[in-house]
Symmetry: C2
Subunit: 313 residues, 2 copies
């Protein structure tokens, strides 16, 4: 399998992190077969940067003067040249106000890879067989907070302002871009209920596909265990119909809840009675090898002697 | 907080699942203030469907004859009308070959919400304050398989074909759209190493933001425990430099690995010596309340008596 294989996780990361910048485009327009003749102005802006996997990246930042017909001819000639040079893919970065260049590119086989805010990225696979380009984000992440007060055995629950099925559930919502799981839980709990809390652990992960609320993408829904440090409810009237501190035993018993809430209530009961280490995934921050960034890692607590031991024997 | 609040997870799901269809557009063009006059052809296609949160959705499927200038005038008049009617948002669905309508919409304040393959969606927030529209997918999901053979205490590891840092790691890669976590692990292990395996449990979750390999989005990286049922390595020469069955103790000892691999090796050692129930998140499939779909839920194994008990006392 060639290196641009879609499934090749680490390799794709490296490719984009360490893209080699190389002006591959201009030669096309200086000596190319038609593009220089057909598009005398602006064409020199159609510069390609070669990435280390053999793809070419073109940024259409300054093509104000180029008309779509001339652009299409120039792009067609450039693609032909890149193909003959063995390039495997072309990426087009298009500012939203230059979107008149999208349809001409599409007519040459380009598709949207993604778009966000004020720009879009199109891609064209030139390699053999089906495209092996990496995809775009596939999941939204929602997080709920199971705020449990060990002293009173009470758990914080809400009913959505939804007239069809008013079921008790944990407050929660979608993560903002770049927001950590625990921070989403704490923020959403506060916004919905007015309760302040701290992250304790990650309890469960749900994966669901073709999610109607995710524009057809997949949904990852995570429930965290939180510890309250305020107790007076001041719930959001727009979002919630009801909000209360409920005895954990009552939440376990009620039929007026979702399967996942009931399951996590039982998990909490197990943790409450036999130790939260039975149910918790704890969190630790570690450095990333390649990027210099940090990440948060969640798993069952590892005893200290295993963290430091040097082998089995 | 109004109901379209971005963080309101369940409400957004419901909104999109049960969108009420209502032709809100045509009245604009029949009696509107200028749009019918300025764009005599095609304007009747600019139909809006009202959603239950007060947003209007417009599909530009059949506007072949409309020119961008006429479209912009029609859209401007329609937006003015929707705003006066108290609509909070407008969604524009634009087929890629109609992308000449994107820049005119952008000049009225529309932005890309997302784009994929052969269409894009733009949005414009009309409500008070900053936009509370739900975002698009924020995470890519990568999965690795820690294939551990309890009989021999061997673990399957690879080195990427990366000249800079050849570290031992678990085989893995990005999830395909709609693919379950466990299926990604099994598929990637097979593609990279030729080893067939079965999903056993989920071991760890890593969250990392502004990921260079995720086009700036966030990355969720999950490691699963797999059980091998074939043992002869036939690794992918394009992706891997080396692949071997390594004694788990050696993987725990080596410095030639990533922090997360070392951590999970230690977690596996703990599970091997003291029981995998200490480290495993088991998986169960459950029905979704609202959509009729099924989802997969991962958490620490819950003893059977807790699954059936009706309360604490």
């Amino acid at each position: 399998m060639p290196p641009l294989l879609r499934g090749s996780y680490r390799r794709v990361v490296l490719a984009l992190a360490r893209r080699a910048v190389l002006g591959a485009g201009p030669r096309c327009f200086a000596g190319g077969s038609g593009c220089a003749r057909d598009s005398p102005f602006g064409a020199e802006e159609l510069r390609g940067e070669l990435d280390r996997f053999g793809g070419v990246s073109v940024r259409l930042g300054r093509l104000d003067a180029l008309d779509p017909v001339a652009f299409q001819r120039a792009l067609q000639a450039a693609v032909q040249k890149w193909r003959s040079e063995g390039r495997v893919a072309v990426w087009l970065h298009i500012p939203i106000l230059q979107s008149r260049f999208i349809a001409p590119a599409a007519s040459l086989g380009f598709c949207f890879h993604h778009a966000e805010s004020d720009s879009s990225m199109l891609s064209l696979w030139l390699g053999n067989g089906p495209s092996r380009l990496p995809g775009y984000a596939t999941h939204q992440v929602g997080v709920a907070g199971a705020v449990f007060d060990e002293n009173t055995r009470k758990i914080l629950v809400v009913q959505d302002r939804n007239k069809l099925k008013n079921m008790w559930k944990f407050p929660g919502g979608l993560s903002e871009p770049g927001e950590d799981i625990g921070d989403t839980a704490v923020r959403e709990v506060f916004e919905e209920t007015g309760i302040k809390s701290e992250f304790r652990s990650l309890l469960s992960i749900r994966q669901q596909h073709t999610h109607p609320g995710a524009f057809g993408k997949s949904d990852m829904y995570i429930i965290c265990r939180l510890k309250p440090y305020s107790f007076t409810i001041n719930f959001c009237q727009h979002e919630c119909l009801k909000c209360e501190w409920m005895d954990l035993s009552d939440l376990v018993k009620t039929k007026n809840t979702t399967p996942i809430t009931s399951r996590v209530a039982r998990l909490l009961l197990y943790g409450y009675k036999e130790g939260f280490d039975k149910i918790d995934l704890t969190m630790e921050e570690l450095p990333a090898v390649y990027t210099g960034l940090f990440y948060k890692l969640y798993h069952k607590k590892l005893p200290d002697n295993y963290k430091t031991m040097t082998g089995v024997d």
